[in-house]
Amino acid sequence: MSEEYKTVKREMNNESSSLSEKGWGLVYALVLVFLVVLIFIFYFITEAYR
């Protein structure tokens, strides 16, 4: 493990609680909610035409 990598990991650990990273967490959650919504739509299509 290089020193550069250790430094980068330390920086990332410090940044993980920043507002910007929390904002990205919200975006990720929205993408996953979108996936769930799509699966529900597909479920209704499947049932409607069964």
């Binding site: 493990m1 290089s2 550069e4 990598y5 980068v8 990991k9 920086e11 990332m12 990205w24 967490g25 975006v27 990720y28 993408v31 996953l32 979108f34 996936l35 799509l38 699966i39 597909f42 479920y43 299509i45 499947t46 409607a48 035409y49 069964r50």
Partner: protein, 565 residues
């Protein structure tokens, strides 16, 4: 094909290639030639999408929708989850280490040996796949349209080499953006023409009712059956690992999103794919389902690969085929009548009548299936070599027979643009990995920027030449596409295992990972040579063995003081 179609086809292809080359030919810096680092999120997102969507996507996927309905979309359910993991875990490290290739990161995390092993595995696997990306659509286009296969290969291969070598990653990204614009335009045009043709017999809702009656509207399957290829479970788990492996560790994709001008732009480009990929695949499958409905009213051939049928007829099987075609015409007329009555019954809410007609439709469809099976059996008896699945010809047959002049040229431009976009992504990645991870790292570590730029261009030309040679001689290998898929499966699992250890097992070092990966690759190759295990399982076996082996060797390290830091 009319002169208007040829004009649309060539002006579209040459226009995009010319624009990409003109915008980027002044690129004189190895960092931007390989890394790009100038794109906004829309370009990144479209470039990621264009690399993944090959010509086969637009030839085969409508055929899948036609043949078995919408279930294939489940294969993509794991993709958004994988992209979120990559955005949260992989991307920030790649950015902060300012790497040009994914394998460069492995040297920082582990050691030079692990980086080189992974880069070599990637080069073997992707080098072979690049030839197939050119060959697979060429064989279908040459069979369906009578084009010369070598000329089709050359058209795609040479154009791609020109702009990939001239402008590097930027040229690939810029051309990807316009190729995707043409692809979307062409697919929407095909959709609206298809809907227009179906409207002569049924509205869009009636078309979906009819498709549903014949089991083509089942999107989700909750069955727990390992032999069932597309279920929600296989899509969420298998699809997740496949997408994680492809998007997170395959340089042809990593290079695309690292071309973003900031971490934010790259993340947005990837998430754009996470949101759009499933609807896009669903839309292409819907085109296939509508083709299925269309061919309930317009008589399709018994077998879409007409070239193979003609060959068998010439070998003395014409009377047998004539008998099958006669039966097919009779069943088609019966089924068409049932379809029209069913649409009316549903529209007028005559439920009991609709139920009876539905059973009749399914029975008629089963008769058609039997006739298709008889055709396949005859082709086997005539010893006709069938090089692609029959359903690959469904969409291209429709395009050639039913689309108006001009649109045929546009749809062929869609297919060739898709072939070029995925080939460009692959050649760009092969050139970058061979330059950065092998040439610069081991052969000539100290040289000028200009030297590496020239080396990178020559290496890309070399890979392009190899891909073209492979595509040219590919017809000599039987079941070539499957052979390449098998080879891919031999390496993908090990590569993913190495990256998963790198990102998620902080205490495991390079030596343990390297030896676990070498052992895993050996076991996978031995299993492949000595057993009949289905090749898709090699991905899971390779990945699990690297992780388990690295954990084991790392634990041993405390005892032998070799595998620990």
């Amino acid at each position: 094909m009319s002169s208007l179609d040829w004009t649309v086809l060539f002006s579209t292809l040459l226009g995009i290639v010319g624009y990409g080359t003109w915008k980027t030919y002044k690129n004189k810096n190895i960092q931007t030639f390989i890394g790009g680092k100038e794109e906004n999120w829309t370009t990144v997102g479209l470039s990621v999408m264009a690399t993944q969507a090959s010509a086969i996507t637009f030839l085969s996927t409508p055929g899948l929708g036609y043949d078995s309905g919408l279930g294939f979309v489940q294969f993509y359910f794991g993709l958004p989850i994988a992209l979120v993991v990559i955005c949260a875990v992989f991307l920030p490290i790649y950015y902060k280490l300012n790497v040009l290739t994914a394998y460069e990161f492995l040297e920082s995390r582990f050691n030079p040996q692990t980086r080189t092993l992974t880069a070599v595995l990637f080069l073997i696997q992707r080098g072979l796949a690049a030839g197939i990306t050119i060959y697979a659509p060429s064989i279908i286009l040459s069979t369906a349209l009578g084009w010369n296969i070598n000329l089709t290969n050359m058209l795609v291969g040479v154009l791609v080499i020109v702009y990939t070598v001239s402008g590097g990653t930027r040229a690939v990204s810029i051309t990807h953006k316009w190729q995707m614009a043409v692809i979307f335009l062409g697919m929407f045009a095909a959709f609206f023409v298809l809907v227009g043709k179906i409207r002569e017999h049924a509205g869009l809702m009636g078309a979906f009712d009819l498709a549903g009656a014949m089991s083509h509207m089942e999107v989700l399957s909750f069955k727990i059956d390992p032999t069932d290829k597309y279920t929600i479970w296989s899509g969420l788990t298998g699809g997740f690992f496949l997408a994680l492996s492809y998007f997170g560790t395959d340089q042809s994709q990593v290079q695309r999103y690292l071309s973003g001008k900031s971490l934010k732009q790259s993340r947005m480009g990837l998430l754009f794919n996470g949101v759009l990929k499933i609807p896009m695949q669903f839309f292409i499958l819907i085109i296939g389902v509508l083709l299925f409905v269309f061919y309930q009213f317009e008589k399709p051939p018994v077998y879409f690969d007409q070239n193979s049928v003609e060959q068998a007829k010439l070998k003395g099987f014409a009377p047998e085929f004539a008998a099958i075609e006669q039966s097919h015409a009779r069943v088609f007329e019966k089924k068409k009548e049932q379809a029209l009555q069913y649409i009316d019954a549903v529209r007028l809410s005559k439920n009991s009548e609709a139920r009876i007609l539905r059973a009749g439709l399914r029975a008629s469809e089963a008769e058609v299936e039997t006739l298709r099976d008889k055709t396949k059996e005859l082709l086997g008896r005539a010893e006709v070599e069938v090089r692609s699945k029959e359903t690959d010809y469904v969409f291209i047959s429709f395009v050639m027979k039913y689309l108006p002049q001009g649109l045929i040229g546009l749809l062929l431009a869609v297919i060739l643009s898709a072939a070029m976009s995925s080939t460009a992504g692959e050649l760009n990645a092969l050139g970058s990995t061979a330059t950065v991870d092998i040439y610069k790292r081991w052969i000539k570590p100290e040289a000028s920027e200009a030297h590496y730029l020239a080396a990178s261009k020559w290496i890309t030309v070399l890979w392009g030449g190899l891909a073209l040679a492979f595509a040219t001689f590919a017809y000599m290998v039987e079941n070539l596409i499957e052979a390449v898929n098998i080879l891919g499966s031999l390496f993908y699992g090990t590569i993913l295992g190495i990256f998963l250890v790198a990102f998620f097992f902080k205490r495991i070092n390079g030596r343990a990972t390297f030896w676990a990966a070498a052992f895993s690759e050996l076991v996978v190759v031995v299993l492949f040579m000595t057993t009949d295990v289905g090749y898709l399982w090699f991905n899971a076996v390779g990945c699990s063995l690297v992780i388990a082996g690295a954990v084991f060797l790392s634990a041993m390290g405390d005892r032998f003081n070799y595998f620990s830091d």
